[in-house]
């Protein structure tokens, strides 16, 4: 195309004041949108903790600063998505098939999928979910999360790459979306069932299903959606808004298959689950070392989990116990900032590079708005950085606090902040009481506002020299003494948390905007977000039910997915594509840390082996919710539109027309 005309346009000069006012209006609008998105979850977490759990918020200022960073980060990031990442993806989709051959197109899709997985590694999240995994109870799971993590990520990457290829071809050839579902979901369920029959691989099912939900990150999802829409615009039934969707669903389903297959392939080389003594037994040395990854890692495991004498008899040497770094690592802010910057660069630069290279080398075309795209990329980098930093210091920290306070819902807790020191206490005041088993407990009568009361006497809090006793009052379970109400409160908490977090998710917002654009606003973004948020809330509550009551995974998964499939059968093509894509989109950078936070709080109490499965449940329920909302829309429409009910019926006999 001749380019001589590109820059002849006269630029308008406008005064600085006007410029600033333009920028201010623009920035304010974007910021306010994110304030609205984040306000609910922030306010909810803070109020729940303060009013329901009656626990104070620690580090209030730090958290407030973090939340401001989240808002600013989200605003930048979303703008970056709309200015650079989505236009780039759409342009690739629009131009590649015409310029590149079939082979090149496939190669591009595979590379894109793999880059996307490596750019936003979700393995960190999975490790956190499986942090309580013990190597002897689930050797294969332990291996896949630690020494074998590169293998897991590789399997996921191949799955995503393959998904992008399939998705692109679906759009290009305008294949129907439903057969993909009818094929993959039963395969997935059957594979899960098959894997669950081997005790070695049974433990990885939760992991595999959760990888599906988390692999597609906030950059990848909008990108592949834009790509699919670009491809669908050039070919097939491009006027069908749903024909560009579906990649996200495949990118969530295929990695699950890949991880399950990886597990099944590796399983024969791994030991059966058992106790620590078996695990560290000399005759199983080779297998156990394989689980740990290396000899050193194995020794470290032994040192951390066996008594020193056992270590000595087993290895013949004194092994030094290393402090485990399970606890939260303390970073100095600058270091933390740097880590976030590196992550942001990793998430955006490789993906943008793949797209730009494809455009430059294969399509050989200049971008129409170079400056806009560059600015958008900078925006998304800054946004990602601020956002993840703010998540870490603000929202996650608030979520962690609420998560930690959660057991208060069903247990009595001490309130050190309300401690009172009584002076003039001596042991003569002690009252002895007999327990049913004959042991004797000591009580101390203390007077406070409500009159005298006997409190259990704890010797460590008694200072005999000063005759002082430090009394820490206890607070009864928030929900009363019945376990039922405690659980109900926790599930309610999780439900509303899932709802609130989903409203703020950037990729869901991007999908909403795209859908609104494609359907000329007949499908509203707010409607989609609320429907999905309700689904995620219900799904998370269900997921935590599974953990609390130790429900089996497979029947639950199968049940939910079969319901979703059945609803898909009777839904329109368009609604089903939207619904299933929402599933992959929902679990993003806001929901996931909060799931971990709540999981940690609840997992402690329930003593669950792992907290997997929550993300999967949070993915399948939105599908059901969106499909149901589709029926609701259709029913309400049809109730009013009787004449046009048969619009899609065969045309009337034309010869009979006047």
């Amino acid at each position: 195309m001749p380019e001589s005309v590109q820059s002849t346009s006269v630029m308008l000069q406008i005064p600085l004041r006007r410029k600033l006012s333009l920028i201010w209006t623009y920035a304010r609008e974007r910021l306010m949108r994110q304030v609205h998105a984040v306000a609910f979850i922030t306010g909810y977490l803070a109020l729940f903790q303060l009013l329901v759990l009656r626990a104070p918020i620690a580090d209030f200022l730090k958290i407030a600063a973090g939340i401001l960073a989240v808002v600013a980060g989200l605003a930048f990031f979303m703008e970056g998505l709309f200015l650079a990442i989505m236009p780039l993806g759409e342009r690739c989709g629009l131009r590649m098939p015409a310029r590149a051959g079939l082979g090149l197109l496939v190669a591009f899709a595979v590379i894109l999928g793999i880059t996307a997985t490596y750019a936003e590694p979700a393995i960190g999240f999975l490790k956190a979910q499986g942090s309580s995994t013990l190597p002897w109870r689930a050797p294969l799971l332990y291996y896949l999360l630690n020494a074998g993590a590169p293998l897991t990520v590789g399997a996921v990457a191949v799955g995503v790459g393959f998904a992008v290829v399939l998705g692109v071809f679906r759009s290009l050839r305008s294949w129907s979306f439903k057969p993909f579902l009818y094929l993959t979901i039963p395969v997935l369920l059957a594979l899960s069932y098959w894997v669950s029959r081997d005790p070695r691989t049974a433990a990885i099912i939760g992991l595999a299903w959760d990888t599906g939900g988390v692999t597609t990150g906030p950059v990848t999802v909008p990108l592949v959606i834009a790509l699919g829409i670009g491809v669908s615009r050039i070919a097939g039934r491009g006027d069908e808004p749903s024909s560009g969707l579906g990649v996200v669903t495949l990118a969530s389903a295929l990695p699950v298959i890949m991880v399950l297959l990886l597990g099944a392939v590796l399983a024969p080389r791994f030991p059966m689950p058992g106790g620590p003594d078996e695990f560290f037994a000399p005759e199983r040395h080779n297998q156990s070392v394989r689980v740990a990854g290396s000899e050193e890692a194995f020794r470290e495991l032994a040192a951390n989990n066996l008594s020193p004498e056992k270590v000595k008899t087993r290895f013949g040497t004194e092994s030094k116990k290393k402090p485990s770094d399970a606890g939260p690592r303390r970073h100095v802010p600058r270091k933390m900032m740097r880590a976030h910057a590196v992550n942001a660069l990793k998430a955006i630069v490789p993906l943008a590079a793949v797209l730009l290279l494809a455009l430059l080398l294969i399509v050989r075309e200049r971008l129409p708005h170079n400056d806009e795209v560059s600015l958008g990329l900078v925006f998304s980098l800054v946004g990602m950085l601020l956002f993840s930093y703010g998540m870490d210091r603000g929202l996650s920290s608030l979520g962690n606090q609420a998560g930690r306070s959660l057991p208060r819902a069903w247990e009595a807790t001490e309130r050190p902040d309300k401690a009172v020191t009584y002076s003039g206490i001596n042991e003569n005041l002690l009252v002895r009481a007999v327990r049913p088993n004959g042991s004797v407990a000591e009580y101390l009568p203390l007077a406070d506002k409500g009159g005298p009361q006997f409190v259990p006497f704890i010797r460590e809090r008694y200072d005999a020299d000063r005759a002082e006793y430090r009394w820490i009052p206890e607070q009864g379970p928030v929900a009363g003494d019945e376990d039922f109400w405690g659980y109900a409160l926790v599930l309610l908490f999780v439900f509303v948390m899932g709802l609130g977090a989903t409203i703020a998710e950037p990729s869901l917002n991007a999908l909403g905007v795209t859908l609104e654009e494609l359907t000329t606003g007949t499908y509203k973004r707010s409607f989609l977000i609320v429907t999905v948020a309700l689904g995620v809330g219900a799904g998370m509550a269900m997921g935590f039910c599974r953990i609390l009551f130790a429900w089996p995974m497979i029947p639950l998964l199968a049940g939910c997915y079969l319901v979703a499939l059945a609803l898909t059968c009777i839904s329109t093509e368009e609604m089903s594509a939207i619904a299933w894509d929402c599933a992959g989109v929902t679990t993003g950078p806001i929901t996931v840390p909060l799931v971990i936070a709540a999981g940690l709080g609840i997992g402690q109490r329930a003593g669950a082996a792992e907290a997997f499965g929550v993300v999967t449940m949070a993915s399948v329920f939105p599908i059901i919710a969106v499909l149901l909302s589709g029926f609701l829309i259709a029913a309400r429409r049809n109730a009013l539109d009787l004449e046009n009910l048969q619009m899609d019926a065969a045309p009337a006999e034309r010869e009979a027309k006047p």
């Binding site: 001749p2 005309v5 346009s9 098939p97 015409a98 050039i234 491009g238 808004p241 359907t519 606003g521």
Partner: protein
């Protein structure tokens, strides 16, 4: 450069009817049709969920806006066949109208000469329906403001608005990077109204959308001939054997015009001359290639352009399957309204930027505009 005077037929119908319309277009002998996604809006009865509030809720039905070109003498037959194929006479389904345009460009082959000029089926020939004069009011507002305007039209019982999305180009693109601060998303509203009402409708639109203030939008009026016009403004349970819309359209047919239902005493707009000397200048080219052409047109003196996405459809070859479809169907449509005097200059400018070259595969469509209103005044 090939130039031809043709009829542009625009058919707006619920998406569930698209397949039938496309099949009929193939039977008529059209080689190319262009479509874009839009919606038709209506008011609906209050539901159980929204029992309160002064205003009725709006219902939006996704619709496809399909356009194509036929020789002038086949205009009536083509419209009748489409309207019959999708039963567009039924209220709530859609509209079909035609207008005179000139096509400039070599790349465009709108119809199959042999098939189109073959004898029309007898039911078409015997059909007594005649296209009636209507005014199509084309209105562009900022994204998000169209809903209110559409609602006003419905509440006043003027017409069923047809809404689609587009992007504005013009001043914004002369601001450098600062342009990102100005939203480019626009809503395009089409009002197809009886000529007797069009002055009134324009007044309402100008007032409601503040079109007399800068930056709020643009409006113009184009004379069209309509065969079926969707008149279903209220979705409600049916209470009689015929709906009010059916009664009205029967009266229209009996009286031979829509003049009897005029709302205002305004004198009927004189048809014929083009008072402002304005023309509608539309570029259609491959998606992603239009920005250079539009910029050239703006440099040549055009005030602004509205971009919308089209999807080009050619009848499916019957072999099925085969290689990956490599020819893109994504098109961009840039609408400009310019003074007649500038037409030649802009045409030259876009020719220089390669609109007709193979990479753009574009053509130009020009048509009459009665009058246009934007911030500068009438």
């Amino acid at each position: 450069m090939k130039r031809m005077d043709v009829s542009r037929i625009v058919c707006i119908a619920d998406v569930r009817l698209t397949e039938r319309l496309e099949a009929e277009a193939d039977r008529i002998g059209l080689r190319e049709t262009w479509s874009t996604r839009g919606k038709q809006v209506a008011l609906k009865a209050r539901s159980v969920w929204q029992p309160f509030g002064r205003r009725l809720p709006m219902a939006e039905s996704p619709s496809d806006i399909i356009r194509f070109y036929v020789p002038r003498q086949h205009e009536r037959a083509a419209m009748i066949r489409l309207a019959a194929a999708a039963d567009l006479y039924l209220p709530g389904r859609g509209s079909v109208y035609a207008e005179d345009v000139a096509l400039i460009g070599d790349g465009v082959q709108p119809w199959d000469e042999e098939k189109l000029c073959a004898d029309q089926p007898s039911w078409v020939v015997e059909n007594r329906m005649e296209p009636a004069p209507y005014d199509m009011i084309y209105c562009i507002v900022q994204r998000g403001r169209g809903g209110e305007l559409a609602r006003t039209m419905l509440e006043m019982g003027l017409c069923v608005p047809i809404v689609s999305f587009g992007e504005g180009m013009g001043m914004r693109d002369r601001l450098g990077l600062l342009r990102i601060t100005i939203p480019q998303e626009k809503e395009i509203l089409l009002f197809v109204v009886p000529p007797g009402d069009s002055d009134f409708v324009m007044d309402v639109a100008v007032r409601k959308a503040n079109l007399h203030e800068p930056g709020n939008g643009f409006l113009c009026r184009v004379p069209v001939r309509a065969l079926a016009v969707n008149s279903r403004m209220h979705l409600d349970r049916r209470k009689h054997v015929a709906t009010m819309e059916q009664v009205i359209s029967t009266l229209d047919q009996l009286r031979g015009s829509t003049d009897w239902r005029r709302m205002s005493a305004a004198a009927r707009h004189h048809r014929g001359a083009e008072p402002e000397g304005l023309v509608r200048f539309t570029l259609i080219c491959e998606e992603g290639t239009s920005s250079a052409h539009v910029r050239a047109a703006l440099d040549a003196g055009a005030g602004g352009a509205t971009l919308s996405l089209l999807s080009r459809r050619v009848p499916a070859p019957h072999e099925g399957g085969g290689e990956v479809a490599m020819a893109s169907r994504a098109r961009e449509c840039c609408d400009l309204v310019i003074p007649r005097a500038l037409k030649e200059r802009i045409e030259e400018a876009v020719t220089r930027t390669g609109l007709f070259a193979e990479s753009s595969g574009g053509f130009i469509e020009t048509g009459i505009v009665y009058d246009a209103i934007t911030a500068a005044g009438r």
